[in-house]
């Protein structure tokens, strides 16, 4: 059913790829990368009128060069997840930094650089790298993910065989104002394995990141990321997850600042009794630089008795734009599915916008699927109550903002991490109040 691709989409692609060659030195990866390029060439880059890009303009992501983005000054603030005992792996502008990183060794898991894995004659990553991405290209095309699979040199290949001794923390540092990061990670959790993956930082002026995760039967994957506070950075990220029987997948993303962020999360529930929770909290202020944040989620139920949750909260001010495109697809036979989507936004002033398309597509009858979406201003009564108790208006507003985001943060499994996130939000709001 391949329809003819519109010429402007192909033109945009050839402009984007001009001067870029597929990475060399790969063995099995060479074929995979060629296949990804072929996929990409069959779809072109997104056009502003594509239905899937209805609310987010792909123009700056399509452009051959990233818009320059100033590096954010953290002013000596303690790093995110700094209090947590974790394995640190550092990338600067999308490139692995061995010196700044801990040794890639941890009980219960094997960590390799993508470059090494790609150069091996035989490697388990072959069955995953680009494979979940390919599967996630239907029914909706995701050209930036295919582009990533084809051209990414950097990234990690992680195999978890038991319970990881500590969380793995990928730290992304932004150093160059015009860096164009391309990072591709592959994670495989063997049956019964358990990993918490933490990610923080902006990575680059423009980041294209793909994370492919296979969660084996009975395995658990916990993912928490904060996307860095650089005001002018741009990011297009994809998570492709495939879930086995009785497995758990939990992913939470905190986004504060960013000219353009689009986080796509594609989850395929293939084993019975699996559980997937995807959550996001975004706090955007369009005053210093535009803020446009897009959460695009696609959950496919293809097994019995699976549970999925999508909880997305956005606080928007000064012309900030929040987008939620969520979908639950229940395939024929995926009985006893329990699916829920929640997308809410708090608009703190008149200029901000919330655009949403929460979709359900259901082909099985014994299911309970629902979604709720709300949008509105801050609760005047709550504000009045706090003010009447002597809380000044800016503090009262921030309290209500934190309360509003609490639902999404509650999706973080690890209490210490959740506390870190909440504490940081409080601090950032305080700093903003001056």
């Amino acid at each position: 059913m391949m329809a003819a691709v519109a010429q402007p989409k192909l033109d945009a692609l050839s402009e984007r790829l001009a001067g870029h060659a597929l990475p060399e030195g790969g063995k099995w990866a060479t074929e995979t990368r060629k296949a990804a390029l072929a996929r990409l060439e069959a779809m072109g880059l997104p056009a502003p009128r594509d239905e899937y890009w209805r609310f987010t303009r792909p123009t700056t992501l399509n452009a051959p060069d990233p818009l320059p983005a100033a590096v954010f000054d953290h002013g000596g603030e303690a790093p995110v997840f700094g209090q947590i005992d974790r394995l640190k792996i550092v990338f600067v502008d999308g490139v692995f930094d061995a010196e700044a990183s801990d040794p890639l060794e941890l009980a219960g898991i094997e960590i390799e650089r993508l470059e090494e894995a790609a150069g091996a004659d035989i490697h388990w990553a072959r069955d995953l790298y680009g494979v979940l991405e390919t599967s996630g290209q239907s029914p909706v095309e995701r050209p930036f993910a295919a582009l990533n699979t084809a051209f990414a040199r950097e990234g990690l290949v992680i195999r978890v065989t038991g319970k990881a001794a500590r969380p793995v923390n990928l730290i992304y540092r932004h150093g160059d104002e015009t860096s164009d990061g391309l990072v591709h990670h592959v994670v495989r959790l063997e049956p019964g394995a358990d990993l918490t993956l933490l990610e923080n930082g902006p990575s680059a002026a423009r980041l294209n990141q793909v994370l492919e995760v296979e969660v084996g039967d009975g395995a658990a994957f916990h993912h928490v990321r904060t996307q860095g506070r650089d005001h002018e950075r741009q990011a297009i990220t994809h998570i492709f997850a495939r879930l086995g029987r009785e497995s758990t997948f939990k992913s939470f993303t905190l986004t504060v600042n960013g000219r353009l962020t689009r986080n796509e999360c594609v989850v395929e529930m293939r084993g019975d009794d699996a559980l997937a929770h995807i959550a996001g909290a975004a706090m955007g202020d369009g005053a210093r630089a535009p803020f446009h944040h897009d959460d695009t989620v696609f959950v496919t139920h293809d097994a019995l008795r699976c549970e999925s949750r999508q909880v997305f909260k956005k606080v928007l001010r000064n012309g900030a734009v929040g987008v939620f495109q969520g979908k639950i697809l229940v395939k024929p036979g995926a009985q006893k599915t329990d699916g829920y989507q929640k997308s809410q936004s708090l608009l703190l002033d008149e200029d901000s916008q919330f655009l949403a398309k929460p979709e359900l597509e259901i082909y099985a009858d014994d299911v309970a699927c629902s979604h709720g979406s709300t949008s509105g201003a801050i609760d005047e009564e709550g504000l009045f109550y706090l003010r009447s108790r002597g809380v000044p208006e800016p503090e009262a507003t921030d309290l209500l903002v934190l309360a509003f985001l609490a639902d999404a943060i509650a999706e973080i499994e690890d209490g210490a991490v959740a506390e870190d996130i909440t504490g940081r939000l409080e601090a950032w709001l305080r700093r903003r109040r001056g």
Partner: protein, 511 residues
């Protein structure tokens, strides 16, 4: 399937009894056709056909030009593909675009002149005799006093048979109130100033593929004008009947509610049972000025195709109401049980400050039916309010999609929307989908959206069954309960009919 037709009827059994039994066995009770001599325009669509339709309707030149303009635009347009419906490609040249009963060429003067077959059609469709006389175009029928049941609750009817309006009832009484209710072809001749001003002002000539096609070839439809401050003395109704084979029906309805007026409008439609799918592409435009209110209720019961998905009507409809004045109000209520394919989004443009739009819908799909239906609420004015209640019920191997848009423009401050979409699945082989678009561009407005999808509750089924109901009755009762918020929004007669339709549409969906 051994039908009653295969059985040798014993002597002495009344024909009526056989007919009654036959109609019980049939799932679609309006599936018969009237064998009547028709006038057709040649098959296919060309500029000449557009001119011919215009000429047959005795239209002025400006109207012919308007149609031709639409036709030329249509040639450049593509059929929309975004809806979740799947049907074989339509050959637009393999259709008749104009069909009218031969006997309607000259207007009959008395009941005796009217083709008895045409009369029988109305009778069979359940339209009362009194109206039937008027429908057949007999002059003077208005003076006949209405019989008991109808005396306090009148409904004026405009009946459209294939491409022509057969007649409009209660015209005189409506005229006394200043209400104009006639066929659109008559309005183009008699009230060109109104038609010119409003036609295409809500649904522009080239709004979408099917609306553009309709603009080019619409053959008839109803026209309503309610003057300022008038509460229309009775409900108005249009009854659409497709009869001829291979004929597309393209009706166009234009309703104008002037300042402070009120009208309730009902629409019904049926078609014969045929193997080959037929095309229906209608446009309804409603203009609502300051403080006026329009209620538009539809019971759509076109032939849905047989249980194997053969035949049925392809229903591609554009309906839109424009609340142009402050405090204008519109309410769409629809019960969609028929058609093989439905593509329909009755919309509200809330332009005036404090204007209100409401949309209540029940869409039932069974067997191979597919429905992609919903609404658009476009909030442009301040303090505007809208409410959407949509109930989709899917059975057999049918696909039922709710697709809707709620848009709050930056200037539509302090506006409200509440949306509730519930889907019910009966059986494991059907589909129910929800595709809402929410666009909020100011912060003083509140938008709330809820959607659920579930199956018929087992406890409720058990309860009904333990009280002696069979499975089908129980499902019909539960579904009626599920849809009650919408059924309650319908005028009484329609609500009764709709409840029965719910049961009929779901026949064979369980067990």
């Amino acid at each position: 399937m051994a039908g009653i037709d295969d059985v040798v009827i014993k002597e002495g059994v009344e024909e009526d009894t056989v007919e009654a039994v036959r109609s019980l066995g049939e799932k679609y009770k309006y599936g018969w056709e009237t064998d009547i001599e028709m006038d057709y325009a040649p098959k296919g669509l060309t500029e000449d056909i557009v001119r011919l339709i215009s000429r047959k309707n005795e239209e002025p030149e400006w109207m012919t030009d308007w149609r031709l303009q639409a036709y030329r635009r249509w040639l450049e347009m593509k059929e929309p593909e975004w809806a979740m419906v799947d049907y074989p490609e339509i050959d637009f040249q393999d259709q008749y675009y104009y069909a009218r009963p031969k006997s309607m060429e000259t207007k009959p003067q008395s009941l005796d002149d009217v083709d008895p077959k045409l009369l029988a059609t109305y009778e069979k469709l359940g339209i009362p005799l009194k109206e039937q006389m008027i429908l057949a175009g007999v002059e003077g029928a208005d003076e006949v006093p209405a019989d008991g049941a109808n005396s306090d609750r009148k409904v004026a009817v405009d009946a459209v048979f294939d491409s022509v309006s057969v007649g409009t009832t209660f015209k005189k009484e409506l005229e006394q109130a200043g209400v104009i209710f006639c066929s659109i072809s008559e309005a183009i001749r008699e009230h060109p100033e109104l038609v010119k001003k409003y036609l295409g002002s809500v649904v522009p000539q080239s709004d979408n593929f099917y609306a553009t096609l309709n603009s080019a070839v619409f053959s008839d439809g109803s026209f309503v004008y309610i003057p300022p401050g008038v509460r229309c003395p009775m409900e108005l109704s249009t009854y659409f009947r497709i009869n001829a084979e291979n004929t597309g029906q393209f009706e166009r309805t234009l309703i104008i509610a002037d300042k402070g007026s009120f009208v309730s409008y009902l629409e019904g439609c049926t078609a014969p049972q045929r193997d080959k799918a037929q095309l229906h592409a209608a446009v309804v435009e409603i203009v609502i000025l300051e403080d006026a209110e329009v209620k538009y209720s539809t019971v759509q019961n076109w032939f849905p195709g047989d249980e194997n998905g053969k035949g049925g009507i392809y229903n591609f409809v554009t309906k839109r109401a424009d609340c142009r004045g402050d405090r204008a109000k519109v309410m769409w209520t629809q019960v969609e049980t028929g058609s093989a394919v439905t593509w329909k989004y009755p919309s509200c443009v809330l332009r005036g400050d404090d204007s209100q739009g409401e949309f209540y819908s029940i869409a039932i799909t069974n067997n191979h039916q597919q429905a992609d239906t919903g609404t658009k609420m476009v909030h442009l004015g301040k303090n505007t309010k809208s409410r959407i209640v949509s109930k989709g019920i899917s059975a057999g191997v049918a696909q039922n999609t709710y697709r809707g848009l709620v848009s709050m423009h930056p200037k539509a401050t302090n506006s409200r929307n509440y949306t509730q979409c519930d889907s019910l699945l009966i059986g494991g082989t059907c589909g129910a989908h929800t595709v809402p678009y929410i666009e909020v561009k100011n912060n003083s407005s509140r938008v709330e959206h809820e959607a659920t999808t579930s199956r018929v509750d087992e406890d409720q089924m058990f309860y009904c069954r333990s009280r002696g109901m069979d499975e089908e009755e129980a499902v019909a009762l539960i579904v009626n309960g599920f849809a009650r918020e919408v059924l309650q929004a319908l005028p009484m007669e329609f609500a009764m009919e709709a409840q029965q339709l719910v049961a009929i549409s779901l026949e064979g969906s369980v067990g």
